[in-house]
Amino acid sequence: MKVALKKSIVIAGLGLLGALAGPAWADYSVGIAGPMTGEYASAGAQIRAGAEMAVADINAKGGVLGQKIKLEVGDDACDPKQAVSVANAMVNKHIVFMHGHWCSSSTIPASDIYNDAQIPMATVSTNPKVTERGLKNIFRIMGRDDQQGGVGGGFLAEHFGSKKIAVVDDKSAYGKGLADEMAKGIQGKGVKPVLRESITAGEKDYSGLITKLKAAGVEVVAYGGYHTEVALILRQAQQAGLKLTILGGDTMSNSELVTAAGGDNANNVLFTFAPDSRLEPAAADVVKRFRDKKVEPDGYVLYAYAAMQLFQQAAEKAKSVKYADLDKALANGSFNTVVGTLSFDAKGDLKVPAFRVYQWKGNKYEYFK
């Protein structure tokens, strides 16, 4: 009896060793990372939905270079420290391509780790610094804040130049960067903002800011930051009897803004975002399948899908997933994705970035008219 037990332990042990010794590296792992939890978790959910659909589609069509791809999901909660540990974990999982992170303040520290480990990455983070540090592994599939802020600021000066404008940010890398560029864009057209303020993201009470805006007679706010704070500011402004028009960046494309702002408050929100790829014929089929699955492909959903397409096409072009080959293919190629044709300049920024001004109308956003 005792002997039998010992034997079975030995066999079990050997089996375990065997399992450890022969890991199957046959599949290619690709990573996505972003705020899967935390205040901005809805953006993480968009990225995840987009990437999962893309991976399923690619695998259904035979995968990449004959191999299936496997998705690894990392959660940084928009916390730079957590982003670094996610990046290290991704490196240990031997991913060959990364899509992420989402918050610029997470992407910047994490990208150093991917660069050291020689993993190419596609990101939607818009802070200029993301691509300004000379890293060769970063490709940005969205425009930059200086472009976005310039478009937004110029637009405000043109359409609302006669009103009093305030510039507000949330002190994050993304928010402050964008607000600074908006301020430049406004001043570039000869209009001077009357106030420049910062708030703390994650709080609930912005009545102090509202009182200040009201006292200064501000009617229009150029806001750099995320949608959750804008919703609260709108609600509280309404309670204080202040009518505000807010112009924000790409993050305002989140439909959570509409429900959180309450009533029809969100109709006063304008934002800059890449042209709506849901309207493009190339994306029609994918858009329809997202909607069949009850996922509205707004915000970052299609970008995550496009990032996976980018990886697949670059790998097919390079006929390899080795860093040197893949990176070269990405840097020199031009790729047809659901968000349009992507090609990159020497820094890794989009060659043809485009921003349009949108406005919320009920539950949908459309081009500002």
Partner: protein
């Protein structure tokens, strides 16, 4: 002038909420000498419960505002008290005689657990509720600045004052209050005199949770937006309020809350919203330098 009055109103409202949460910290500290870090999350749980209750009520077609408010308060207080009791029973009571560090770690764990539980079961998205009491009164206009008093702000201040009166009565005049104060002074002696210490501590947690529940309901109605992460910031602010007022002192917690609310609102309106937390914590440090036990706290007397 208009700005000054407006910020007084805003600050008092904010301070009332901080104060109610701070009471929970201070009561628990008073009785078991431990900072209950999960308290902020208890408040978050109550806010989520009130969103559920509000949604249910609009589904049943109950539309009278006072009735809705009363029902939501009752539901939130009932459920949140159960949470308060359960947290104490599972996370703190087994560690009653362990070293001081153990329940502290357990509290932090409980806080993380509650947050993640709500995130997983309720989703990470922010939960909006329709405005229950829209509008307010325009008090006066001074130099082009109109001062607004929202109906929700009146509600928050009135409910807080009523609660404070009831609560003070409970602690100073009832037999539960006497037992609670006895346990606070000397747990061993209290148990020798026939007080069920465990039960008293349980009730204290439930009472603290009930006050946090009221704060949760009011915040839901006032700001209209709730998510699983609101407990952290509110917890830190309320904890600061408790320390500022003197941890262990009940009027101190309320005073600390109101002071922090006022400091925040005046600082952000006259100087910059950017540095309001710096101002709050700088004042906390100053107060603690000159009065280490807080504004109304009694210095700890070493028992011989």
């Amino acid at each position: 002038m208009g700005q000054f009055i407006q910020q007084l109103i805003n600050g008092l409202t904010l301070g009332a909420v901080y104060g109610l949460i701070a009471l929970g910290y201070t009561m628990v500290y008073g009785i078991i000498g431990m900072i209950n870090f999960a308290h902020g999350d208890i408040y978050m749980v109550s806010a989520i419960i009130s969103v559920t209750a509000l949604t249910l009520m609009s589904a049943f077609g109950i539309s009278s505002v006072p009735l809705v408010l009363a029902l939501v308060l009752i539901i939130a207080i009932a459920f949140t008290s159960v949470y308060g009791w359960a947290v104490e029973r599972t996370a703190y009571r087994p560690l009653r005689n362990a070293s001081r560090l153990a329940p502290l770690i357990s509290a932090i764990g409980m806080s993380i657990f509650l947050q993640n539980m709500v995130q997983v079961t309720q989703g990470a998205r922010v939960k909006p509720v329709p405005t229950l009491m829209p509008g307010g009164i325009e008090l006066f206009t001074h130099a082009g600045f109109s001062v607004h008093l929202a109906y929700t702000q009146i509600m928050i201040c009135v409910i807080t004052v009523v609660l404070m009166v009831a609560f003070t009565g409970l602690i100073t005049r009832t037999s539960f209050g006497r037992q609670q104060r006895a346990c606070e002074q000397d747990r061993t002696m209290a148990s020798l005199l026939g007080i069920d210490v465990d039960k008293t501590i349980s009730y204290t947690f439930m009472l603290g949770a009930a006050l946090a529940a009221v704060a949760g309901v009011m915040v839901t109605v006032y700001y209209g937006v709730v998510d699983f992460s609101i407990g952290f910031v509110a917890g830190i602010k309320a904890f600061t309020a408790a320390v500022l007022g003197g941890v262990g002192s009940l009027p101190g917690a309320m005073l600390g809350g109101v002071l922090i609310g006022l400091i925040e609102s005046y600082w952000s309106a006259y100087l910059s919203p950017e540095y309001k937390d710096v101002a709050t914590f700088a004042i906390l440090i100053l107060v603690l330098m000159f009065r280490p036990s807080g504004l109304l706290g009694r210095p700890e007397v070493e028992k011989v």
